[in-house]
Structure formats: structure tokens, C-alpha cells
């Protein structure tokens, strides 16, 4: 996997998730971050820090990104969400415009 094709997502606690750009860009917010003209720091370094998203949630989100790609390409499976994560997940989703 080449570095240019991936992006590092960092949670509030400092955990790093390296995911494909393609997957990360499922989020419209991340998409804008990485494509906006001019060069924001995130685009230069290929990493994004989310001080307001916990590791658990960010992990779930990353799973969701990949699930979404599969779903979009026609593989219809369930995406399991633990009830206790629901609310935080929804807020993060609103933030990330996913």
C-alpha cells in the first residue's frame, strides 16, 4: 500500500488508524480536507487528528468506511452497532458528514 493512497486518522487518545484514502473519503468532511485547494496541514502530512472522537468510535467509523465501500459495490451485509455506541457514533457521523 503506497503512502499517498492512505491517510492516518488519529483519535482523541492518540491511537492511529491507517486507512485507504478511498475509504476515508466516504466521509464528506475528510474528503474536503484532503481535496480542498491550497494545502492544509492535513493534506500535506496525510494525517488527521480528531480531538473530539474517542478511539472506540473512530475504530467503529473506520470499520464503517470499509463496510460502506463493500455495500456500495453490491455486497449487502448488516453493519452491527452496539447500542451503547449509537449516540456518539451519530454525533461523529454528523461531524464527519458521513
Amino acid at each position: 500500500m503506497r503512502k499517498e493512497d492512505t491517510v492516518k486518522l488519529i483519535s482523541a487518545e492518540g491511537f492511529e488508524f491507517v486507512v485507504d484514502k478511498e475509504a476515508a473519503m466516504v466521509s464528506q468532511t475528510i474528503h474536503n480536507m484532503l481535496t480542498s485547494p491550497g494545502s492544509f496541514a492535513e493534506r500535506q502530512h496525510g494525517e488527521v487528528t480528531f480531538p473530539e472522537i474517542s478511539t472506540t468510535i473512530l475504530e467503529k467509523i473506520c470499520q464503517y468506511f470499509y463496510w460502506h465501500l463493500q455495500f456500495a459495490s453490491g455486497k449487502e451485509t448488516e453493519f452491527p452497532i452496539e447500542p451503547e455506541l449509537t449516540l456518539e457514533l451519530m454525533m461523529a457521523a454528523n461531524y464527519l458528514h458521513t
Binding site: Q28, S36, P37, G38, S39, E42
Partner: protein, 732 residues
């Protein structure tokens, strides 16, 4: 959101406590404002998108959307004002470049700002019905930069100047023009229209008005059209390079109006180079150009068409009424065909095969061909000429082409029955004299006539062919039953069915004794095989081959007509004969005899007789001798009659009368047919229907139709209505 719920606690934990900080909004806005400044100063690389986005997100989330929005407007306005200043300050040529650079900067910044403020764009703006960030950016640019007093007019003038200098031949930076016009379009179609297009069209109209005036004074029509075409293409090119595509229609309209529409008539009627001149000089390129340009303006083509129709009618009229042309029918028809070819070619090459032009051409030809009442005769003579000799050595395809062309002229004729009359006569002469070159061509033409006018039209013509065939068989039968005749003179008889062939005044002449004996034998043979028939001899139509020995012993075979044969045979027993003696002995009608003697005695190289006195014409007191000094390189000498190719005036009258006579029953038949199906009909409609029914054969004369109606009333086929005298009833 009750506190009793366990989950609510976690939500609280997720929220930012900074909300409580009264300065939170101001602080956050400061960060964003700073970021916007940095973005405009090309300093964005150090900024964290996530941070900015999160701040904007939180501001909106915590109900500071209004503050964020108004802050954005204020900051952007400030920047744009600076930009406007720097653009205003740009000198001369760099003005557009500066504007363009700033526009690109602004666009980029706007995009970045929109991206970081996306959450506001998504939630706050729709709910408060404010202008979205991107649009806001464009609006502010328009209001502050473009509508700035010092930029607005300068921009317009600069653009128009550039276009003008390109029109006068300079090279300009099209790239920047494209960018600027694109900017205007991006700012909203109405901006482009009001800030540029309207003025552009106005200035262009002015420019082309002046230019076209200049051109039309000094150029001929062809050059002018070339220039107009070039200008038009230039404008289209210009639009494709740096204007909005929607402008194309408008600017071409301007050019068309100023350069073509306003000068249309002047161009068409330009002396020595106008439309008529182009027609006469076969200027396909110029004509094509004119067609393509005039097609763009209303009425353009109809103007061309009018002039073309007028011109064809005029030249056609001259052609058909030119007494010089009338002397040679073949030449006459050839000229018609050439004329038709010429215009076909023009319409094909220059006028895009336009149907309306073809129709105009057809109607013009129909108009002038029928101006000359002798056209049907001449066309038939033309065919006659072609089928006699013209088609020798020509390939079958070419024959077809020629015949097709003739058919085309035939189609224009209104009096097709007159043509039929003449064609029948000419065909008869061809068949009887064995002059026809190609049976195939003859038949092919008949087939064409048949498809054009139906079975009735050609049945008699076909009958003539059948007669020829049967006669061959009859002759074989005749000689088979009279073997003793092989040694003597041979007789070939063509038995013609009365009715199928053109009626000839059957004046018989006195045949030489040898011949009349043979004829008698044939008569008895023929009547023996076919009972109930009558044979009468048409001596005016036959030919004969004579073997003659002249003074110095040279022998020749003379190919002559029957009349000539009769005359020559007399000289077997006499050396000198006076005109009177010949007339008495042969009983050939005077006009025919004169013609026949003329061809025997007065044609150079064919003068087997000698005449005294040696005058050009044959008089009643002339005397004739065998010309002993006759000599010819050829063994076979063909002595043609001085044929009256064209009909003489009385003959013409006679044919005309016969045609009129033939029309009567046809008109009557048509009337009866129509009345039988309609039972009753008023006068005008009846005339109209009759004319329509007979159109394929001739143009019925209303007075004649009226006469026929009256005659039918007299004969109790029709009656007039008691109350309405204009109404006819059919009487079964």
C-alpha cells in the same frame, strides 16, 4: 433530554464545556478570521483543516451561526475591497491580467473557505435561508470588484477594444479573454449579458454596418460575399474561443443582418457581378456562397429564387421566341437541354439540391417551354434526329440519359397530345424509311412515355411496331408463294393498320408498269390470306433502290423515295421531259413533285438529273434531262428528299386542327365520366375537374369545354337544372 436517563450523562460528557465561556464565540471566530486572512494571503499551508472545521462546526452547533456568517461577510468584503483597489491600480495592459489573477485567487480562497465552513453551509444557511458561501463569494465579488466605478467601464472598454483590434487583424491574448468572459458567465448569465454581451453586440453591429457599407461600394458581389463569409466564420470562431456559446446565435444574427440582410437586394442586383451574372458565368462557388449566406436570413432564399425564376423565364422566353433558333429544331431543343443541365448543375452544386429551387426551376421551364406552341413538335423532331443518327456509336447508357432528358422536357409540356401527334408522324417516317438506328432505344422511349402517360398514350405507337413486325412475316410468306419473282424487281410492303398510323392523304401516283404489276400480285396474295380487308397504297412514304447506268457507263445504285423512283423510271424511255409531262405521267401532287425534282436535279453531288434553265427553283416550265455527267465516288448514292423537317405553316395549321379535333371526344369523355359519377355538378367545378383529368395530356381550353358541354346537352347526355342554370345534371 431528561437527566434521569443514564445515557444522557455520556452526552454531557461529549459536549464542550467551553460553551459556558462567554468569550468562546469571539475566540473561536478570531481563529477562523485569522485563517481566512491567511487563506487570502496564500498562507494556508500551516492551517489545520480539522481544527478550523471543528471550530466552525462548534460555533454553528452552539448557535453562533449568525456571528460566523456576518463575520465571514465582513472579512470577505474587506479583502475584496483591497483586491478592487489593486485591480484599479493596475496599469494599461496588465489590467485584465491582474483582474484575472485576483479572480483566480478569490475563487480558490472561496473554495477553501467554503470547505472549512461546510457545516454552516449544510445546516445553518438552509435553515435561515441565507446565501450559500460560494454564491455569497461570487455576489460580493460582483458587487465590490466588478461593479466598482473604476472597474466596470474599464473592463467593458478593454474587452471591446481587444475584440476590435482582433477584428482589424491584430493578435490578442485569447486565453485571458476566455477567462474573463468565463468569469462574467460564472457570476450569473445576466452579468455576462449586461456587462458585456449587449454592448458587444451593439458595437459589432456598428462595426459591420460601417464595414459592409465600405465593402459594398468597392467590391463586386462575389468578393463581398467572400468577405461576409469570412467575417461570419471569424465571429463563430471567436465565440468558440472565448465567448459564451449562447452568444454565437446573437452575433451571427448581427453579422447576417448588417452584412447580408441590409444589402440583399443590392447584392443580388449588383451590376456585372450580381446573381444574374453569376448564373450566366456559372460561378458555382459564388452561388454556393450566396446560397449559404442568404439561407441564414429571412426571405434570403426566396429572393434568390425569385430572381432565378425571373432570369430563367426571361432567357427561356428569348430562347423559345428567337426566330434564329426556330430554324433548327434540334439545336433549339439542345439549347433547352443545355439550359436545364446548367441549372440542374447549379442547384446541385451550389444550392444544396434545394427542393424549392428545383420546383422553381421546373415551373420556370414549364412556363417558357409552353410559350412556344411549336415546342412539342420540336421536341419530337429532336428525338427523331437522335434516333435517326444522333445515337450512333453512343453507349446504351448515354442513350438512356439523353432519352431521360427528353422525357424531362416532355413532362413540362402542357400539350402532350400535340407531342404525341408529331411523335407518331416522325416515328412513322422513321419506321417506314428504315432509318431508325436502334430498336431498343425506340422501345425504351415508348416505355418511358407509357410510364409517364399511361397505356392509352402509347398503344398506337406500339401498334406501329407490331405492324412492322407482321409485315416482315407477310413479305416472307409472299415470296415463298411466288418463287418466280426472285429475279425481277423486289417489292417490300409494309401493311399498316389504319388508325394506328398517322392518317396520310392517300393520293396515289402512277407507279411504273413493272411496279404496279408486282403490287397487284401482292394485293391478291394479301387479300387471299386475309379476307375482308382493304389495301390502299401510300406511295408517298416508300423508298426504292434503283440501278442506273450513266453516260460514261458508270454504274450506280440510287437510293430514292418512291416518288423519285417514279420520276426516274420515266427517263428509261425518254431523254428530255418537261415538268408538265412528268406531272401528267406520275400524277404526283405538285408540292411533292417539286420537292422531289429539286432533290434530283439541284443538290450538288446528287444531281442525277439536269434542269433547264439552271435556276434554284423548280418552275412549271422547266425541262429535265438525265445528267450524263453525273459522277460520284460512291457506288451507292443516297438521294434524300428535301425533307420539310419542320412543318410549313399550312401543315402546322392542319396538325393543329387535327389535334383540336382529337381533343373533342376526349373532353366529352371526361365530362361524361365525371357527370356519371357525380350525377350533378355546377359549371365551374365541372370545368375544373375536366381540366384536372386531362392535364396529363393537354391543357383544356375552358371555352372548348363549354362548347362540349353544350353539345352534350343537345345530345341529351346532360341537362341544365330548371332553377339553377349553372347546375348540370347527368341523364342516364
Amino acid at each position: 433530554m431528561s437527566n434521569q436517563r443514564k445515557r444522557n450523562f455520556q452526552i454531557e460528557a461529549f459536549k464542550h464545556r467551553v460553551v459556558i465561556d462567554p468569550k468562546y464565540a469571539d475566540k473561536t471566530w478570531k481563529i477562523l478570521e485569522h485563517a481566512i486572512h491567511e487563506i487570502y494571503n496564500h498562507n494556508a499551508s500551516g492551517l489545520s483543516f480539522e481544527e478550523l472545521y471543528r471550530n466552525a462546526y462548534n460555533m454553528v452547533l452552539h448557535k453562533f451561526g449568525e456571528k460566523l456568517y456576518s463575520g465571514l461577510v465582513a472579512t470577505m468584503t474587506g479583502h475584496l475591497k483591497e483586491i478592487a483597489k489593486s485591480v484599479e491600480a493596475a496599469q494599461g495592459g496588465s489590467f485584465l491580467e491582474e483582474l484575472n489573477r485576483k479572480w483566480n485567487d478569490h475563487n480558490k480562497a472561496l473554495q477553501m473557505i467554503r470547505d472549512i465552513l461546510m457545516y454552516m453551509d449544510r445546516t445553518y444557511i438552509p435553515s435561515t435561508q441565507k446565501t450559500p458561501v460560494h454564491e455569497l463569494g461570487l455576489n460580493l465579488w460582483r458587487e465590490i470588484v466588478i461593479y466598482s466605478n473604476q472597474i466596470r467601464n474599464r473592463l467593458l472598454n478593454t474587452l471591446l477594444e481587444l475584440v476590435h483590434s482582433e477584428r482589424t487583424g491584430d493578435v490578442i491574448d485569447r486565453g485571458i479573454m476566455r477567462n474573463i468572459t468565463k468569469m462574467l458567465v460564472d457570476l450569473g448569465p445576466s452579468v455576462y449579458v449586461h456587462e458585456f454581451e449587449l454592448h458587444f453586440l451593439h458595437v459589432s453591429a456598428e462595426f459591420y454596418r460601417v464595414e459592409s457599407q465600405k465593402f459594398i461600394e468597392c467590391c463586386d458581389c462575389g468578393d463581398y460575399l467572400k468577405k461576409a463569409e469570412r467575417r461570419l466564420n471569424e465571429e463563430i470562431d471567436r465565440v468558440s474561443h472565448y465567448l459564451d456559446p449562447r452568444t454565437e446565435k446573437k452575433i451571427t444574427n448581427v453579422v447576417e443582418k448588417e452584412m447580408i440582410e441590409n444589402h440583399m437586394l443590392r447584392l443580388i442586383h449588383m451590376e456585372n457581378s450580381g446573381l444574374v451574372h453569376m448564373f450566366s458565368d456559372d460561378k458555382y462557388d459564388d452561388l454556393g456562397r450566396m446560397y449559404n449566406l442568404f439561407r441564414r436570413v429571412p426571405d434570403g432564399l426566396s429572393k434568390i429564387r425569385e430572381v432565378m425564376t425571373e432570369h430563367i423565364k426571361e432567357t427561356g422566353k428569348q430562347l423559345v421566341n428567337d426566330p434564329e433558333r426556330l430554324k433548327d429544331p434540334v439545336e433549339f431543343v439542345q439549347r433547352l437541354l443545355d439550359e436545364k443541365d446548367k441549372y440542374d448543375k447549379i442547384i446541385n452544386f451550389a444550392f444544396n439540391n434545394d427542393k424549392s429551387f428545383q420546383n422553381a426551376l421546373n415551373s420556370s421551364f414549364e412556363y417558357f417551354i409552353n410559350l412556344n406552341p411549336r415546342s412539342p413538335e420540336f421536341i419530337s423532331l429532336f428525338v427523331d434526329d437522335k434516333l435517326r443518327k444522333g445515337l450512333k456509336g453512343v453507349s446504351e447508357d448515354d442513350v438512356e440519359v439523353t432519352l431521360d432528358k427528353v422525357m424531362m422536357l416532355f413532362r413540362y409540356l402542357q400539350e402532350k397530345d400535340v407531342f404525341e401527334k408529331y411523335y407518331k408522324q416522325h416515328l412513322a417516317k422513321r419506321l417506314l424509311s428504315g432509318k431508325t438506328v436502334s430498336d431498343d432505344a425506340e422501345r425504351s422511349l415508348i416505355v418511358k412515355l407509357k410510364t409517364e402517360c399511361g397505356y392509352q398514350f402509347t398503344s398506337k405507337l406500339e401498334g406501329m411496331f407490331t405492324d412492322m413486325k407482321t409485315s416482315q412475316d407477310t413479305m416472307q410468306g409472299f415470296y415463298a408463294s411466288h418463287p418466280e419473282l426472285v429475279d425481277g424487281p423486289t417489292l417490300t410492303v409494309q401493311v399498316l393498320t389504319t388508325g394506328s398510323w398517322p392518317t396520310q392523304s392517300s393520293v396515289t401516283c402512277n407507279l411504273p408498269a413493272e411496279m404496279s404489276a408486282l403490287c397487284e400480285k401482292f394485293r391478291s396474295y394479301y387479300l387471299g390470306t386475309h379476307t375482308g380487308r382493304r389495301l390502299s397504297w401510300q406511295t408517298n412514304m416508300g423508298t426504292a433502290d434503283l440501278k442506273a447506268t450513266f453516260g460514261k457507263g458508270q454504274k450506280h445504285e440510287l437510293n430514292v423515295s418512291t416518288y423519285q423512283m417514279c420520276v426516274l423510271m420515266l427517263f428509261n424511255n425518254a431523254d428530255r421531259l418537261s415538268y408538265k409531262e412528268i406531272e401528267q405521267a406520275t400524277e404526283i401532287p405538285a408540292s411533292d413533285l417539286k420537292r422531289c425534282l429539286q432533290s434530283l436535279a439541284l443538290v450538288k453531288g446528287r444531281n442525277v438529273l439536269r434542269k433547264e434553265p439552271m435556276s434554284k427553283d423548280v418552275g412549271e416550265d422547266d425541262a429535265f434531262f438525265v445528267n450524263d455527267k453525273f459522277s460520284s465516288k460512291l457506288y451507292k448514292v443516297k438521294i434524300g428528299t428535301v425533307v420539310a423537317q419542320k412543318e410549313s405553316e399550312p401543315e402546322k395549321q392542319e396538325t393543329r386542327q387535327r389535334v383540336e379535333e382529337d381533343r373533342k371526344p376526349q373532353i366529352e369523355a371526361a365530362i361524361v365520366r365525371i357527370m356519371k359519377s357525380r350525377k350533378q355538378l355546377d359549371h365551374n367545378n365541372l370545368i375544373a375537374e375536366v381540366t384536372k383529368q386531362l392535364q396529363s395530356r393537354f391543357l383544356a381550353n375552358p371555352t372548348e369545354v363549354k362548347k362540349r358541354i353544350e353539345s352534350l346537352i343537345e345530345r341529351d347526355f346532360l341537362e341544365r337544372d330548371e332553377n339553377d342554370r349553372k347546375l348540370y345534371r347527368y341523364l342516364a
